[in-house]
């Protein structure tokens, strides 16, 4: 069973948001890889979020939506890295921006590297 780390699990590609993969040595850098996605939830979830907004707190529908889209963005990043022949992506960063009401763009970028 794959562990649930909040990020996609791809056997060949190691991810980290620091300069190295801890305990490994980088031998070659292959440049910047990116992945992005724009997603929206169906209107039912929007209406439910509107109701939840009355009392505040967490909007679970949107949390779920952003988690899914982040996974998709990361998957595209990993795919990009795999196409370049990398086996790790270091210094992964995330960015989010709202495109329209209820739709969000999720963006992930990092440096593809080959590690020993």
């Amino acid at each position: 069973m794959q562990p649930n780390t909040g990020t996609p699990q791809v056997a060949q590609i190691a991810l980290s948001n620091i300069e190295t993969i801890p305990g490994r040595t980088i031998i070659q850098s292959l440049g910047v890889v990116t992945g992005s996605t724009v997603r929206a939830k169906h209107i039912g979830k929007d209406i439910m979020a509107g109701f939840k907004n009355i009392v505040g707190g967490e909007l679970k529908g949107y949390t779920e939506l952003l988690q899914e889209s982040r996974n998709e963005a990361l998957q595209r990043l990993v795919l990009d890295a795999a196409q370049r022949g990398a086996n790790a992506v270091v210094n992964v960063r995330f960015a989010t921006s709202a495109v329209a009401g209820g739709a969000a763009e999720l963006f992930a970028y990092g440096t593809a590297v080959i590690i020993q």
Binding site: A14, G56, E58
Partner: protein, 163 residues
């Protein structure tokens, strides 16, 4: 039967006038109760942790050998209640510290970090390095005064387990 028709119309009118007030009251009392419960729940979970396993260090402490690492990411969408937003709008006329929005944002951040801690533990990592927080506004219209407002808080870092 003009009587029933009349009562129906009066009923609709009363409801349409009263419903915003009812929603407002629900938002005030219900929102305060709900958010207080969320804060207590978070506090209890934070106290149950043996030690803080999240740090913003960029590399593991010297003398430790890392055997496994992975990227961990968790997010939360936190929203103020209608009452808090109303409060904030009134306060922003006079300026100064807007406590009602402070509260929900502070809760959102702490909750995101706490979830990252729990995520690291459930995946068997000893520590999370280089934890970063990102906040972004979602669900606001072009002019920025939508009736609903919410912020997304993302916490991510590299989970490592030591030998």
């Amino acid at each position: 039967m003009p009587d029933i028709e009349y009562m129906f119309v009066v009923g609709i009118y009363t409801l349409s006038i009263l419903s915003p007030i009812i929603i407002f009251l629900i938002s005030w009392f219900g929102g305060n109760w709900h958010q207080k419960r969320l804060r207590y729940d978070l506090l209890a979970r934070e106290k149950a942790m043996p030690k803080d396993n999240v740090s913003t260090l960029r590399s593991p402490l010297p003398g430790r050998r890392v055997v496994r690492s992975d990227l961990l990411a968790i997010n939360i969408v936190a929203a103020p209640s209608h009452w808090q937003l109303f409060n904030a709008r009134i306060k922003s006329i006079f300026g100064g510290n807007i406590k009602s929005l402070d509260k929900i944002l502070d809760w959102g951040r702490q909750e995101a970090i706490q979830r990252l801690r729990e995520l690291a533990i459930s995946n068997g990592f000893d520590e999370v390095l280089n934890m970063r927080l990102e906040t972004s506004t979602i669900q606001a219209d072009q002019s920025g005064n939508s009736k609903n407002a919410s912020v997304e808080i993302l916490a991510y870092g590299t989970g490592v387990s030591y030998q």
